[in-house]
């Protein structure tokens, strides 16, 4: 089962939920945590995994053999991203704009275009106290997160439980990260910002036909509009976590909630069980 932890708004507690959920379940099940927030991966701050391997993540960008090139301009014509231009007897390549689709090399009538790999980040893996861990890291200055997210997800071990920490927002990196999940936990806070961005996140998971539930973090501040919204939209609130200076202090020190305050472990196990019930029920419904 794949459970992704997303939010729309940043800073609502995705990392707290992802790390505590993984650590709570490690005795009951084979659990793997994939940090797909490749722009700002933070799960490692809490899990402190021993990294045992890594690989570069690259995309294939074009390389032109000028001896063969007739400057016909076909490559520039087919490139949807303006990553290749032909000006007189020069071919200019803008690797930062290239998505690596391969159209130019395939369609070059002179077979003058080969591909070389351009590194955009890394994927690395290791173990932390019974949790198998994989994370991606976008190289600083690079723009495209999705190829790295795709690679991290290739390491998913589908026999056990996979928890995916998703980047904030609603656009392509989020979609890439949550695609294929059995369930999406949306973490939010009881404020107008939290509500606005939760509604966007709900639209995103519904677009992908993924069932979802909410973890409401920092309760005790703000207002009750998130709860009203969840009731109206028939979205279960699976867990609430109060605004608490001790929880905030543990977070600031990079200590997982369930390690600093072990009484929380049961709450996270219940969270997992509720998610599992919803997923199992849905699977039975689709089989019928």
């Amino acid at each position: 089962m794949i459970i992704s932890i997303a939010s729309g708004k940043g800073g609502t507690g995705k990392t707290l939920v992802a790390t505590s959920l993984a650590l709570s379940m490690k005795d009951a099940d084979r659990v793997q945590l994939l940090d797909c927030d490749v722009e700002e991966p933070n799960d490692h701050v809490f899990l402190k995994p021993a990294i045992t391997g890594s690989e570069a993540v690259s995309i294939a960008v074009p390389k032109v053999d000028e001896d063969r090139c007739t400057y016909c301009g076909k490559c520039a014509e087919v490139c949807a991203y303006n990553a290749i231009a032909v000006l007189g007897n020069h071919v200019l390549i803008f690797p930062q704009l290239c998505h690596g689709c391969g159209a130019c090399s395939y369609l070059c009538p002179e077979e003058a275009i080969s591909e070389e790999s351009r590194e955009m980040g890394i994927a690395e893996w290791g173990q932390s106290d019974g949790v198998s861990f994989v994370q991606g890291k976008l190289t600083v200055g690079e723009a495209m997160a999705p190829p790295i997210i795709r690679r991290v997800k290739e390491y998913a071990n589908n026999d056990g439980t996979v928890i995916i920490d998703v980047p904030p927002g609603t656009s392509c990196p989020v979609v890439e990260a949550i695609k294929g999940s059995d369930f999406c936990i949306l973490v939010t806070e009881p404020t107008p910002f939290g509500l606005n961005d939760l509604a966007l996140a709900v639209e995103t998971v519904r677009e992908l036909h993924i069932p979802c539930g909410v973890v409401l973090n920092r309760t005790g501040i703000g207002d009750s509009k998130v709860e009203e919204y969840c009731q109206k939209e028939d979205i279960p609130i699976l867990l609430t976590i109060p605004l608490d200076t001790e929880i905030a202090r543990l977070y600031s020190q990079g200590i997982p909630l369930v390690e600093g305050l072990p009484q929380w472990k049961n709450s996270f196990l219940e969270l997992f069980n509720r998610v599992k019930e919803i997923v199992d029920e849905r699977n039975r419904d689709t089989q019928r």
């Binding site: 940043g10 391969g102 395939y106 600083v140 927002g169 609603t170 656009s171 606005n196």
Partner: protein, 282 residues
């Protein structure tokens, strides 16, 4: 004219609350919400919509089932796994058009994609340019560029002194698009290990694009050991710490009422943000 973009790397450090207060404090400015994925600044500024425009960007492949012979060439060649069972998954399609060029029976066409909206609104603080990227859409960087371009146009037409941009979290495409060519990046961080880690990466992006940066530590009283770490890191990087703002529930209370915190209270948080604006606007 000075263009100031507020970034953080990590989400939820307080960017939008600070920008909302800058809106109330700054004279002669235009506001831009560059967090087009999850825009929130409008919730503090009670905008009245003046202009709404569609954002058309990119394309999606479309297979004509009557023409398709199910040869499978498109599925084999698509590197984004966007064609399965001779159907296009629009969410996975990156709009490269490769399939449309190689289909032997010309069954695939590329359709223009409406990816969102952008808006110009009036607020009691001046004009606000903002946007809403469509759900699960791509090209957020292009929409950010469009928002900035229109904010700049307004600033030039009205000879304004500042463009104040609320940036997105992260370090990728929309952040780079918000940042390139700006006069100053204000990096809002918090004294948590995650906040520090993310600050280092977003400062790296500022360096990469040669944009001057200043740091603000929000909720500084949460962990003063980490504040010292941030200060010593910033001093090794030769980046100024412009302000330390305490944690206070008044920020959330102001947000619930839909007003910038500097208009809600004149306590310490508001004083710190005022001092911060003075430093940033110099």
């Amino acid at each position: 004219m000075k263009e100031i973009v507020i970034l953080s790397g990590k989400g939820g450090t307080g960017k939008t609350s600070i920008v909302g207060s800058f809106a109330a404090l700054a004279k002669r400015k235009v506001l831009a919400d560059c967090d087009v994925d999850a825009a929130d600044l409008h919730l503090l500024l009670s905008p009245s919509l003046k202009q709404e425009s569609e954002f058309w960007s990119g394309q999606v492949a479309c297979i004509d089932e009557d023409k398709c012979t199910q040869c499978g060439l498109c599925q084999d060649l698509c590197r984004f796994g966007a064609i399965k069972d001779f159907r296009v998954d629009p969410v996975s399609c990156e709009g490269c058009g490769f399939c449309s060029h190689i289909c032997p029976v010309e069954a695939i066409t590329m359709r223009e994609n409406m990816s969102g909206y952008w808006f110009i609104s009036d607020t009691r603080y001046g004009s606000l340019v903002h946007a809403r990227l469509g759900i699960a859409q791509e090209n957020s960087g292009k929409l950010v560029a469009l928002v900035r371009q229109h904010a700049k146009q307004i600033a030039e037409e009205q000879s304004l002194d500042y463009i104040i941009s609320d940036g997105p979290p992260g370090i990728g495409c929309p952040v780079i698009s918000s940042l390139s060519g700006a006069s100053l990046a204000l990096l809002v961080t918090e004294p948590t290990l995650s906040g520090i880690h993310d600050l280092e990466r977003v400062l790296g992006v500022c360096r990469h694009f040669d944009i001057p940066a200043l740091v603000c530590i929000n909720k500084y009283d949460l962990n003063e050991d980490n504040v010292r770490r941030i200060e010593s890191y910033c001093s090794t990087q030769d980046v100024g710490v412009a302000s330390k703002i305490p944690f206070d529930n008044v920020v959330t209370e102001a947000l619930v009422r839909g007003v910038p915190v500097v208009e809600y209270t004149d306590g310490r948080v508001s004083q710190e943000i005022s001092t911060l604006w003075q430093k940033v606007s110099q």
